[in-house]
């Protein structure tokens, strides 16, 4: 299993997508720090500081895309053939992918948090804002790891279900960035937003009584984890079932 996870990471490393997507995620994280701490904004409250770090959650969309690509690229370029010839047990392959992209999500989350901390710590001390790794910040950091890692698994599942690389990436990104938020605009069903991946992510990330997002009552953090886990595992399990019996032609 370690060999297969290693192979998955080398697959990523030997193409260039990972680099540009990581760069994009780091850039967004950095921009949020700049925007939050720029002189025009008066970040003074430690809770505002913690919120700033939730921006590392932007890596989730990037890791989602990598997850989609992790499955669809194998089929698009037929590298699935040598992959399965080396490892005929498809359960083993699927498990290796799940472990790899969960790890990948954690690594991207870590990279975004590190760049944010590296920029924010000196800046905050220069502004004289007292800042410590309090419970709230620890919660945010833990939440970022969980959310980003689960989006990698959602990506794998969506990729396995839709198979077509361009369709899967486009549909997935449009859904996560736009469509799920349209629910907020529909009066009768807007409370259902709490159960979307975005709603669940917000529930996991925010702590300090911010259980209200644009008037929608958010779930508790724990319930958010469960809802996001369901979003991650259902497509992944259905996709795995399909991939188990799929003819590789």
């Amino acid at each position: 299993m370690i060999r297969l996870v290693h192979a998955e990471f080398v697959k990523l490393r030997t193409t260039q997508v990972w680099f540009w997507l990581l760069l994009a995620a780091l850039a967004i994280s950095a921009i949020v720090v700049v925007a939050s701490l720029a002189p025009a904004n008066n970040v003074t409250d430690p809770s505002d500081v913690a919120d700033m770090f939730t921006a590392s959650n932007n890596a989730s969309i990037v890791v989602f895309v990598l997850g989609v690509l992790g499955v669809t690229t194998e089929f698009r370029y037929q590298t699935i053939t040598p992959t399965v010839l080396v490892t005929p047990s498809r359960w083993t392959l699927i498990t290796a992918k799940l472990i790899s992209y969960t790890l990948l999500g954690a690594i991207y989350a870590l990279a975004c948090l590190v760049i944010q901390l590296a920029m924010a710590l000196p800046w905050l001390s220069a502004k004289g804002i007292d800042f410590s790794l309090d419970a709230q910040l620890r919660h945010v950091i833990g939440a970022v790891f969980i959310v980003v890692a689960l989006y990698g698994v959602i990506g794998l599942g969506v990729g396995a279900l839709l198979r077509n690389q361009i369709v899967a990436v486009t549909v997935g990104v449009i859904f996560l960035l736009a469509l799920e938020n349209l629910i907020l605009l529909i009066p009768k069903v807007r409370n259902a937003w709490a159960y979307t991946p975005g709603g669940a992510s917000n529930a996991i990330l925010y702590t300090h009584g911010q259980n209200d997002f644009n008037g929608v009552h958010l779930l508790s953090s724990g319930a958010g984890v469960i809802v996001l886990l369901v979003w991650a595992l259902i497509p992944a399990l259905i996709g795995a079932g399909i991939t188990m019996n799929r003819d590789i032609t």
Binding site: A7, V10, T14, Y77, T79, P88, D247, I248, T249
Partner: protein, 320 residues
């Protein structure tokens, strides 16, 4: 190499038994196909495009699930072979590479997943003559180079059994000559090679045995000499064919007009035909043995118009 001590039962007999594949409930790509590939031989797997060769090979390798029947290599289904790429190497299509990845990295990923030392990647690149090109992205490879990279991945685990699907596609004449030499080399090392082709001349020189397939069904299987037995003929040209034809028929041969002055004689040797002509007093302008033409046999056996007839049963060779 980390290959375990060779086990005789894994040395490579490939047995397909009643293999059947029906796609989407109606397309019978492979229909109750049975054949055996003997260890240590080069077997040509022949048939026109669309005969079901690729589907069969993919069933042998566990990539396509058979609708019915089984396929085993050394007595095991592919999925049950421990460390399969050290037992069986396969090159299936010329395009199963990520274009943005180098050939060397493609092979290294397979090494990592299979637990092989990374140096194997460079070793097999050298074996197929891609040493220098290995560090280039596959995007820039010609079709021939991709075929070589496919062969390199097949050789990665130093397997005793090789399954190659149309490896000559896209190769220039030099490449095909190289490939033939390569097969001879592999067979000389005692490896089992199953190589599919829709062009007989690609494998004719190197194959010990052939399995011929059409419309998903077995048309013929055996050694080339078995297949060609009884199909040699004598060509005789004379201005006076009628009395010679009668003499041949009386002598137990079978003569057929190739043109008004030329007869194709089967069931008789060159000497017998010459003697009959002499005793019948027939003037001869030509008397020669027809070289056996596997290509002709191939077209006879796989004639696209008619499905394989009852006289072309397995193991009966290419009798007409």
């Amino acid at each position: 190499m980390t290959v375990a001590a060779p086990q005789p039962n894994l040395d490579g007999q490939i047995i397909a038994s009643e293999l059947t594949k029906v796609f989407r409930g109606r397309i019978r790509a492979v229909d109750r196909l049975s054949f055996t590939v003997e260890p240590g031989s080069v077997t040509g797997f022949l048939g026109p495009n669309g005969a079901g060769k690729t589907t069969t090979l993919r069933m042998v390798l566990g990539l396509v699930h058979p609708t019915g029947g089984t396929a085993t290599i050394g007595g095991l289904q592919y999925k049950n072979i421990p460390h399969p790429i050290t037992r069986v190497g396969a090159a299936l299509e010329s395009s199963s590479f990520h274009p943005a990845r180098t050939g060397r990295n493609h092979l290294r990923i397979l090494c990592i997943a299979a637990g092989l030392p990374l140096q194997r990647a460079d070793a097999v690149l050298d074996m197929v003559g891609l040493g220098a090109a290995g560090k280039r992205k596959v995007r820039g490879y010609s079709l021939g180079m991709r075929q070589r990279l496919g062969l390199a991945s097949a050789l990665l685990g130093d397997p005793r059994v090789l399954v190659l699907d149309e490896p000559a596609n896209g190769l220039d004449p030099d490449g095909i000559r190289w490939l033939r030499g390569f097969f001879r080399h592999l067979a000389g090392e005692g490896r089992t090679v199953l190589v599919s082709s829709h062009q007989l001349n690609e494998v004719q020189e190197v194959a010990d045995r052939v399995v011929i397939l059409n419309h998903g069904q077995l048309v013929s299987a055996g050694t080339i000499s078995e297949l060609t037995a009884g199909s040699e003929s004598v060509r005789v040209r004379t201005p006076n064919p009628a009395p010679l034809g009668e003499a041949i028929a009386a002598g137990g041969g079978f003569a057929q007009h190739e043109d008004p002055q030329t007869l194709q004689v089967r069931g008789m040797t060159l000497d017998q035909v010459g003697h009959l002509a002499f005793t019948a007093g027939v003037e001869l302008h030509e008397l020669s043995t027809q070289q056996f033409d596997l290509e002709d046999l191939f077209f006879q056996l796989t004639g696209t118009a008619q499905p394989p007839g009852p006289t072309m049963q397995p193991s009966q060779g290419g009798k007409q």
